[in-house]
């Protein structure tokens, strides 16, 4: 595309530079303020190569050009027109969108963890409960029922790396099954279980870097960060390979190489670096708790949660076992309890304070689980994501741990923390109770004061001036719970994803209208796949054309031949030309009614400007929920 030519033709179309008051641009559009609108020849501008649409809104002439090109056209345009760049605010906004790396990393972490929280909560609660019961009724441990329940209860934690790997692969855009394989490699039964290693099991050398650095055959049970890093590497390799490997070989070469390279790197490089880190943490922890007057415990109680984040906490088993062997007094466990309970209380405060139902529904069970000693849901699902609750929890943990140390609280066994910890601290009941209470109270109060619900994501620079979305339109899935990639289409429907070629209609199947995918809806609702505006709302409401802020033009066509229904069974929740936010309901429809009239409800989701993309492919199989990834594109 010739940016200069495009810019000069637009300038001619608006009636020359004398007719231009100011110029700015957002992610997709040139936004021009025109002196005399009657001099603007819209049709002329529409015909310019590179222009995807022209309309007037909020006193501006908006010319849709597209992501990545609009800025170049803009540069040429202001050079030609001789105006100053109008939008310092735009530049500022863009700078703010580029959040610091650690913030994005934490967010990614949360995104990875959120989908698997139900699995961890279910087994985590059972785990805590059983641990407590077996301490209260030692006879129980031998029963068949206990054996069964015990197995159920630790499954999600035993196989945690696999769950994390699958979820991470989905977030990083790789093949989730390949991601799963990486997770499985890391806890392969042929490797020695990390928890057993923590309790003193022998390991063998698996690989040696030049005979200098021996890699032990330790598994990665209980690990989090190495798994996420490994899967990130795998997805990066996989995506690169998809690009460079010829299609004929892609199907077997890419998965093979992705797994091979990542597996090797993981077990010989990423993993060992973490193992080394863990042993340092362990020595550091041992050193810390030897510091008297509760100072060491105070620090340890504070940094305990971050070590859970880093996934090195399973090493602490070794400390507890050593203490018990030494004098039968496990003074580590009260510190762990303080830290865990504090994280739970911090999450509980979030649950009480938030007005967001999704956060509340997650924070409550997560905090309950933390009180029973399983903190991952609270830490990853809530506290790390919102930052401040984690700090509140750390402060609570520190205070609680200091109390424990000063009051010489000790446990006579190990394996449980939190509420059930009372069962193994019968000799220092009051001290343990105080530890518990101080940790929880400090964390709860601080977290309650510090936590604030995030403001609804402010409108991105694109189109903030245009009409705001209709207030009655409900939004599904709080948009801040997922990361969205501009190169993907997130499903506007819930149902079964099928290929466009499988749509039971020749025109759609032949991809005459454009490329994309289709959904056989299980629910009669269409939501916005991304922010943008309605370019065409059909009078019969069976189809809607969208122009998204990322430059994508889309047609969502509900059902086949449903134009013949003349609007019956369809309700629009937005007006033609109005702006919408991702997740906002656009149209609802009565699937039963439509089917009863003899129409198929398969709904093609079509990118109608496929020429702007090098590749458009379906990215979902089987059932998709609202805003699950449906289509991937490459420019």
């Amino acid at each position: 595309m010739d940016y200069k030519k495009c810019a000069s033709e637009i300038l001619t179309g608006i009636g020359g530079k004398d007719n231009l008051a100011s110029a700015a641009h957002c992610a997709t559009r040139l936004r021009l303020v025109i002196a005399d609108n009657s001099k603007v020849k819209k049709t002329l501008i529409e015909g310019v190569d590179g222009v995807k649409g022209v309309f007037e809104a909020a006193g501006q002439l908006q010319i849709i050009i597209g992501t990545g090109t609009v800025n170049k056209v803009y540069d040429e345009f202001i050079a030609l027109a001789g105006v100053e760049a109008a939008s310092k605010e735009d530049v500022k906004a863009a700078a703010a969108a580029q959040a610091p790396l650690y913030k994005r990393a934490i967010k990614t972490f949360g995104d990875v963890f959120v989908p698997i929280i139900p699995a961890i909560v279910a087994t985590g609660l059972l785990n805590g409960l059983l641990g407590g019961l077996s301490k209260a009724f030692p006879d129980m441990a031998g029963s068949y029922l206990f054996t069964l329940l015990d197995m159920f209860s630790n499954t999600a934690l035993v196989f945690l790396p696999i769950l994390i790997a699958v979820s991470a692969a989905k977030i990083f855009g790789g093949n989730i099954y390949l991601g799963g394989v990486i997770g499985m490699i890391m806890i392969h039964p042929n490797l020695v279980n990390a928890w057993s290693v923590g309790s003193g099991a022998e390991t063998e050398t698996l690989w040696s870097w030049f005979g200098l650095w021996n890699i032990q055959n330790t598994g990665y049970q209980g690990h989090v960060i190495p798994v996420v890093i490994a899967v990130l590497i795998m997805c990066t390799i996989e995506k690169k390979l998809h690009k460079i490997v010829p299609e004929t070989f892609d199907l077997f070469v890419t998965p093979l190489l992705s797994v091979l390279i990542t597996g090797f790197l993981t077990l010989t490089l990423i993993g060992p670096v973490f193992s080394q880190l863990e042993s340092w943490v362990l020595s550091f922890a041992k050193m810390l708790i030897a510091v008297p007057f509760g100072i060491g415990a105070f620090i340890m109680g504070g940094v305990y949660a971050p070590t859970v984040v880093a996934g090195v906490h399973h090493m602490y088993n070794a400390i507890e076992l050593a203490m018990l062997a030494d004098n039968g007094m496990n003074t580590w466990m009260p510190i762990a309890t303080a830290a865990n309970v504090a994280q739970g209380a911090a999450a509980l405060a979030v649950a009480f304070k938030t007005r967001n139902h999704k956060i509340k529904n997650m924070a409550l069970p997560a905090s309950l689980s933390a009180f029973m000693g399983i903190t991952e849901p609270a830490i990853f699902g809530v506290n790390v994501r919102y930052g401040k609750p984690l700090i509140a929890g750390m402060a609570g943990g520190a205070c609680g741990a200091a109390v424990a140390s000063l009051m010489h609280v000790y446990a006579t066994s190990n394996g449980v923390t939190g509420i059930f910890g009372f069962l193994i601290t019968t000799e220092s009941f009051v001290g343990y109770l105080l530890t518990f209470a101080v940790a929880a109270a400090v964390a709860f109060v601080l977290s309650y004061i510090m936590y604030k619900d995030a403001e609804p994501a402010a409108a991105v620079s694109g189109g903030s001036t245009a009409a705001s979305p209709a207030p009655e339109a409900p939004v599904v899935a709080a948009a801040d719970d997922k990361t969205y990639d501009d190169n993907c289409v997130y499903s506007p429907l819930k149902g079964k994803a099928i290929a466009m070629t499988e749509v039971p209609d020749d025109t759609f199947a032949a991809e005459v209208l454009g490329l994309g995918a289709a959904v056989e809806p299980s629910e009669g609702k269409v939501v916005a796949p991304a922010d943008g505006e309605v370019s065409t709302l059909f009078e019969t409401k069976h189809a809607i054309g969208l122009t998204l802020d990322n430059g994508m033009e889309m047609l969502i066509h509900i059902g086949i031949n449903t134009v013949e229904l003349g609007g019956e069974g369809f309700t629009a929740h937005i007006e033609d030309g109005a702006r919408f936010k991702r997740g906002q309901t656009l149209i609802t429809f009565d699937t039963e009614l439509i089917k009863s009239k003899g129409y198929n409800t398969t709904t093609p989701v079509i990118i109608t400007n496929p020429d702007d993309y090098a590749e458009v492919k379906k990215a979902a199989d089987g059932n998709v929920d609202f805003l699950d990834k449906l289509i991937e594109t490459k420019k």
Partner: protein, 85 residues
């Protein structure tokens, strides 16, 4: 430049499918095919805008075809309209 008018006979007008087919047809020619109705005009290769015209049964639309292969293009579009709309 070739111009002609056409009155839509199809009950539901230019909806998604015929619009898609028309846009596809127009793209096969180098000429520009413009459709005009009530003072609004649109390049028919621009699918979204074409659908946005909301052309219904009984509406009369005016086509303008301009370019090297305008004869063939005009004929093809006219035949398409007669056959489908």
């Amino acid at each position: 430049m070739k111009t002609f008018s056409y009155t839509i006979k199809d009950a539901v007008g230019i909806h998604a499918r015929p619009a898609g087919l028309l846009a596809k047809l127009a793209k096969t020619f180098s000429s520009t095919v413009t459709l005009e109705k009530d003072g609004k005009s649109v390049n028919v290769t621009k699918l979204m805008m074409l659908m946005g015209m909301g052309i219904k049964c009984g509406d009369t639309v005016n086509f303008t075809v301009e370019g090297e292969d305008e004869e063939a293009a005009a004929k093809a579009v006219e035949d398409f309209m007669a056959a489908n709309l």
